[in-house]
């Protein structure tokens, strides 16, 4: 890439995105419309997250990019390379060393700290979208704090299944006002959203940005007699033995044999370096 501006976007576009981010932080959970630009990767593949990252990155930053919790999935690789080329910033796979983390569909297991920024890629920012397809209607619902449709849906789940049948992109109420879609993170990750870092959400194709300042109150929707449970598979990680991390199910042989491993590859690798071993990991510490 030659002759592109630092972090690719032109300054006018960055200013527009920055203004949207500031209003997003002032109104946590509210979806700020922004004039999303065509980026060199397709809509739906993280352009919102990329635009937000491009607007916040400084030359001094260290960037981590993950997809499904892993640094090495193809789209995370592609986005990380994009920023290496256009911003020449340092990159890392270590959560603790990153200042900006762009993520698709997971929050890292390691608690984030003051000074870090988590940028989420969001496909459908509107939590009510599958209950009401029209933007003209959902905008009114948010304006009037009219979330009856959502409560009815959750209650119907309980009547039909005995449980709320939402496993990811589990809706939350932010600062006691806006219902927000946390992006398709597993509901297991929802409690992590009350954190010390700044969280920014970018939906490029849908043209929305939203944000959570640190320590913002984020409550997963539930009922008194059916409280929210941040559940995961009832197994430890086969490689590092972790009991408290979200797991990927891997099929290991033709007979359908399965193994569960940490979705967060950096977390798992770090635990193994520290000497932790899971049942399926017979290698001795190096």
């Amino acid at each position: 890439m030659t002759d592109y501006n630092f972090a690719y976007l032109d300054e006018q576009t960055k200013r527009m995105i920055r203004r949207a981010i500031l209003k997003g932080l002032a109104i946590p959970g509210y979806q700020v419309p922004f004039a999303s630009r065509e980026m060199p990767m397709p809509y739906g593949w993280g352009t919102g997250g990329v635009q937000v990252s491009a607007a916040v990155l400084c030359p001094e930053d260290t960037l981590k990019v993950i997809d499904q919790g892993a640094d090495d999935t193809t789209n995370a690789v592609s986005i990380r390379r994009f920023f290496e080329r256009t911003a020449q910033i340092a990159v890392t796979t270590a959560t603790a060393d990153a200042t900006v983390i762009q993520t698709r569909h997971r929050i890292p297991e390691e608690p984030l700290r003051d000074g870090q920024i988590l940028v989420y890629q969001v496909p459908i920012p509107e939590p009510l979208r599958f209950l009401e397809p029209r933007e003209s209607e959902t905008r009114k619902m948010h304006a009037l704090e009219e979330y009856g449709l959502m409560h009815v849906k959750l209650y119907e789940d309980i009547s039909r299944h005995g449980h709320i049948a939402t496993a990811y992109a589990y809706p939350v109420k932010v600062a006691d006002r806006y219902v927000m879609d946390p992006s398709p993170i597993p509901k297991f990750d929802n409690p992590k959203m009350e954190m010390a870092a700044i969280q920014l959400f970018g939906a490029g194709r849908e043209q929305r940005i939203y944000a959570l300042p640190p320590f913002t109150r984020v409550v997963s929707l539930d009922f008194e007699d059916h409280p929210f449970v941040a559940s995961k598979a009832d197994h430890p990680c086969g490689l590092c033995g972790a009991q408290d991390s979200y797991l990927d199910e891997v099929i290991v042989d033709d007979a359908g044999g399965r193994m569960f491993v940490c979705s967060d590859t950096d977390y798992c690798a770090g635990r193994q370096v520290d000497g932790h071993r899971g049942r399926d990991n017979k290698e001795d510490a190096a």
Binding site: E38, Q68, D72, H163, P186, V261
Partner: protein, 362 residues
Amino acid sequence: MYVAVKGGERAIDNAHAWLAEERRGDPAVPELSTAQIREQMTLTVNRVMAEGSLYDPDLAALAIKQARGDLIEAIFLIRAYRTTLPRFGSSLPVDTGAMACDRRISATFKDLPGGQVLGPTFDYTHRLLDFMLAADGDVPVAPKMPVDPAPVPHVMSFLNSEGLIAQETCDGTPAPDLTRAPLELPAARALRLQALTRGDEGFVLGMAYSTQRGYARNHAFVGELRIGSVPVEMEIPELGFSIEIGEITLTECETVNQFTGSKTEPAQFTRGYGLVFGQTERKAISMALVDRALRWEELGEDDQGAPAQDAEFVLYHCDNIQATGFLEHIKLPHYVDFQSELELVRKLRRDAGAVDRQEAAE
């Protein structure tokens, strides 16, 4: 023993190398040049310019070559490039009345000033595969006639002078720019037309076709279809006057639709409008039909619930770059979301099984 999957970077590099080979195809076959695409596949170039919202036949030809002929991929390349270009300002509205028409037809009048000029059209060809084209050969020179310098007035001006057609007035409001501000509803007509001109031809065609088949009752007549070149002018503040910065080819279609009328307004014809880069007829006519369907509210008609009347539905789904991006994103890993669904389904089945066993025991 299971080892975490690695090698994403190498996989991507190898994929790109193979893609380059496939793009070239058999090296024994001469390479396609962008000039050949520009000259001999003009209608593809036109579509890429129209939906890419960028008038540059050479860039469009390059995009088509790079995209191996996948037009939506080519449009994407053009759109991404367009985003990086600096903006100096807006042109003055082009005067299609001053168009040097290569093609100009009207279905509403048998004859009219300026005449019916067929131009280079497929319309009356017999769709028989011409195997002579498989061999290269010389094309005979088409017969010529001097151009009549007389102006070619818009047909609508005749209907206008009788007061038969609803007037289109310009209130001076600057036109919005869909590429610089997020789409908001309700969308004014200018914004809808922008979305339609850069919308996917197939989608807009399907929507237009639906209006002809009763999904929004409206018979459209092609009042005028004209194709040709127009000058583009821009005001230069430093100079204090406008200059011509170039010439572009446009296709313009004005449709005449059923007349409406009320207690206070006499019956009149109403319009649909289409305007597209290049010779891009099917799109321009489709655009005019969908434009008319979307005008139901301001014309006091009923909402019949037809898809083409639903501005939100049409405008949110006509952009093929957004559409293909989101469609194709389902190829990306979704195993984390899937995992949580797996757990949920297993849980629900377990609990249902427990209820069944309990009921059987009772």
